[in-house]
Symmetry: C2
Subunit: 161 residues, 2 copies
């Protein structure tokens, strides 16, 4: 695995600058009980995302983060990584996600990180200034267990000129 | 399309109680500027999710919600619907999402609703107390334009006894 390179603040990284197979690890997200409860009470108020007592009787065993919260925390790590590598300047927005699976529960006091591997690049035929990138994007916990995996589809600008 | 039935508070709806083809419409989520900014600043701090000025130069045109926020708001509508129909008592947790696509931007002052169609039921072979359900789940705005669509996979308890 290639570690993410440290880039200059004014770095720009376009569709043309990344190659299929390129793999990067990034992020260190501390999951707090307060944030798990805050997200769940707004967006996923199921009992096993709101209290240890209710979660005890379920597959989770104790208070676990909403899967949508895990996705959101992973996105925050991705955005920070894009900004650190200049990819933010090329990003035109997300297209979608395929084959997303929640593989293990995420618990308060877990620390998450991501590994992203570029699996496909598709230059746009109709719009020569952009292309679609497909990533395998996996979120891990501090035991190096994958907790969520997906295929992410995004649109990146091509290098100007 | 069948409208969601009104059920009693003590209603329970299990894997066995829903049929392939069943379609339900639910939800009425008012998207506020404050919430768009709050979610984006925590989980998706890209310029087009943080200000009209930055969004003006992009495909979004003006401040737009994070796609992960749209997913989270949709989940809130789903959980409320589960609770209204007694499906919450059968829900064992999400498995994943396939083919999720963000189809149109979601903007402050939009009002969202969902339409869910059950497309497949798979009884568990190894665990006779549960089964997998596959839904086509679409989120619409107030102009009845689909803004997000996905295939959702969940696990429901079978009717006891």
């Amino acid at each position: 695995m290639t570690e993410a390179l440290r880039h200059e603040q004014d770095m720009e990284r376009y569709f043309d600058d990344i190659e299929v197979g390129m793999t990067e690890r990034f992020g260190q997200y501390q999951v707090t009980r307060e944030e798990v409860l805050d997200f769940a009470s707004k967006y996923d108020p199921q009992p096993f995302h709101l209290s240890d007592e209710a979660a005890e009787k379920t597959l989770f065993g104790r208070l676990a983060a909403s899967g949508f919260h895990t996705a959101a925390m992973s996105m925050r790590m991705m955005v920070d990584h894009w900004q650190a590598t200049g990819t933010d300047k090329a990003n035109m927005g997300g297209i979608g996600m395929d084959e997303l699976r929640w593989l293990k529960p995420v618990y308060p006091d877990d620390t998450l990180y991501c590994v992203v591997k570029l699996i496909e690049k598709i230059p746009s035929r109709s719009k020569p200034d952009r292309g679609v990138v497909k990533y395998e994007w996996t979120t891990y916990n501090q035991h190096d267990e994958p907790v969520m995996r997906q295929i992410s589809l995004g649109m990146l600008k091509r290098k100007p000129g």
